[in-house]
Amino acid sequence: MTIEQLIWLVPLLPFLGFVINGLGRNSLSKGLVGIIGSGVILASFIISIVIFFSLQGDTQKSHEVFLFDWISAGTLHIPLSFLVDPLSSIMLLIITGIGFLIHLYSTSYMHDDEGLGKFFSYLNLFVFFMLLLVLGSNYIVMFIGWEGVGLCSYLLIGFWYTNTAYASAAKKAFVMNRIGDLGFLLGVFLMFNFFGSVEFSKIFPQAANMLPGNNTLVLITILLFIGACGKSAQLPLFTWLPDAMAGPTPVSALIHAATMVTAGIYMIARSSVLFDLAPLTQHIIAIVGIATALVAAIIALTQTDIKKVLAYSTVSQLGYMFLGLGVGAYTGSFFHVLTHAFFKALLFLGAGSVIHAMHHEQDMRHMGGLRKKLPITFLTMMIGTIAIAGLPPFSGFFSKDEILANAYQYSPILWGVGVLTAFLTSFYMFRMMFLTFSGKYRGTHHAESHVHESPKAMTVPLIILAILAAIGGAINIPHVFGGNEWLAHWLSPVVAQHELDLSHSTEFTLMAVSVLVAIIALFYAYTRYVKGARVPVADEAPRSVLAKLSYNKFYLDEIYDFIITKPLDAFSRFFYRIIDTKFIDGIVNGLGWSTNEASKGVRLLQSGNVGFYIFMMVFGIIALLAYTFYYI
């Protein structure tokens, strides 16, 4: 079987799962729903592996698989066709592989929920759209996937829609994503106008012949970047992601950590030819990325909800990836996407396991001392934490250091802020671990007796992800350690490559510094939360200014509320009360009123007397005749 024959099955299977689970959500048994939901993803995963290996053994690294003509109007031709190349084949593995583990986990985590069928059909639909996003061979198919994952994200954040706060979190995510999507769409329009096509295979060769710094290219890339900002939760559009934690935890793991939020990075890596020719945009991306990384890390320092900590850490890590994109380390960014998918999915699922054990308690102030009770969860989450903190030899170390080394080459200041963020990352992650797992249990005694390790369907995905998080860095070991940078070679036909021009001793120094700060942060967190047994203070307790800023997320939501929502509300009220009710309604009602008044007199003519009607008719004809004779 060739790639062309197999590829259409990869997105089709999850879609079938969506249809079956969606239609049978009330009639299928819970076990069957879980088997169908996970089974289709597993099948997709197996096909993806087959595709990956046949692509590896193939000399032709890029297959464009044409399925059918979707839109054909004038000069616009949009086929539904898939592009299988090194970049998309790895994305396929991430999406279906991690997707499958999370589906498996969900069969147990969501088992007691009434809407299990609905949940799995949404998850399947999400995987379908995500696959469409990465497989599309033009920006329009990518955009369908892009919007589709946004929709699924909305549906799943608001999965427990009876809770008003959750429903409005879903709305917030949807609306904020729309802002970015508008940028993306405008970028695509501009590209069509400029290149005359939306196909990757037509745009990139044309762009490669252009001069760097071309104004149109800069505009296109900035618009695309705005799209990526919305989807991948960068400043100033990141506030939806922490709120998105309202969804069930597997959703947070799959959509808001491992896959959907990396769509923006995928899109920029895919368009790296364009971005490479727009230095101004790259500069902006690097600055936005590092600012997001820092701000989110500072906010994460004081959060008390276990999922919120992870959410801000996701935003912060996404900031790293954008920093990498901005400094031209496309491979490094994509590497970080890969390792981040492993350890962040692991951490979220671990958090889900803790929440499951604690009977839906998410506040870390009520946890503590869970290490003995949840040994597997503790061990796997510890591996994830070490990986995200960037300690060798776990996966996060390699990917983060590749980005940081590239950032150093671009500008040492960016590197400095990056290392500061790495320090904060290490601190808040270990803080979360210590607060959750060490010390004494802080909840009620009754609740303590109910705490239990999660069932196999939940721990097995944790263990697999922990192994991946531990060894995932092996796929791109840098030359300094005698590795061969397999991922960089693999991606080289697709993604623009930039050789790192640093001496080995500099590279080692950079690594040593970032590892050192991570270890310092680890010990600081240890003394503070294990030795000092500190617990975050209650919500209303007084805080120092900085802690207050961090705890209240720099008041960003309030600021947006003040700058955008409030004026918009005022405008809406003005248009409603003055323009709509007074002006437009006035015209409509006035027309009705005048017709009514005029007809009050005229209707008397309708007397019911037929003779009179006939007379009027004859009179009318004569009048018309007279008019015709005398005036025409």
Binding site: R603, Q606, S607, G608, I614, V618
Partner: protein, 109 residues
């Protein structure tokens, strides 16, 4: 037959116009002054046929047979219209026991 046609062609167009105008006026006056629905109906037919006659006369005058073809169509339609009209009058009579149109004065605002 040949003879008749030549004789008819000898009648000037003006005479046809006068005749038709007179018949048409009789129809109009009949419609305006009579109250019996059937008489009104007949007057309407009179007007219609006055116009038909005029059309034929013009058709012959300008040597264009399509006018006469039209007249045949109009007559066919008029036959259908008479059927509907008479049916209405029959229904009016059944409901009001009268065919005086002044009885039908309830259809007003």
């Amino acid at each position: 037959m040949e003879n008749l046609t030549t004789q008819m062609a000898g009648v000037p167009l003006n005479h046809y116009i006068y005749l038709c105008a007179i018949i048409f006026t009789i129809g109009v006056i009949g419609v305006l002054t009579r109250r019996n629905a059937i008489v009104i109906f007949m007057s309407v037919e009179l007007m219609l046929n006055a116009v038909n006659l005029l059309l034929t006369a013009f058709s012959v005058h300008s040597n264009d047979p399509s006018g006469q073809v039209f007249v045949f169509f109009i007559m066919a339609l008029a036959a259908a219209e008479v059927a509907v009209g008479l049916a209405i009058i029959v229904m009016v009579y059944r409901n009001t026991k009268s065919i005086d149109i002044n009885v039908l004065n309830r259809l007003k605002w």
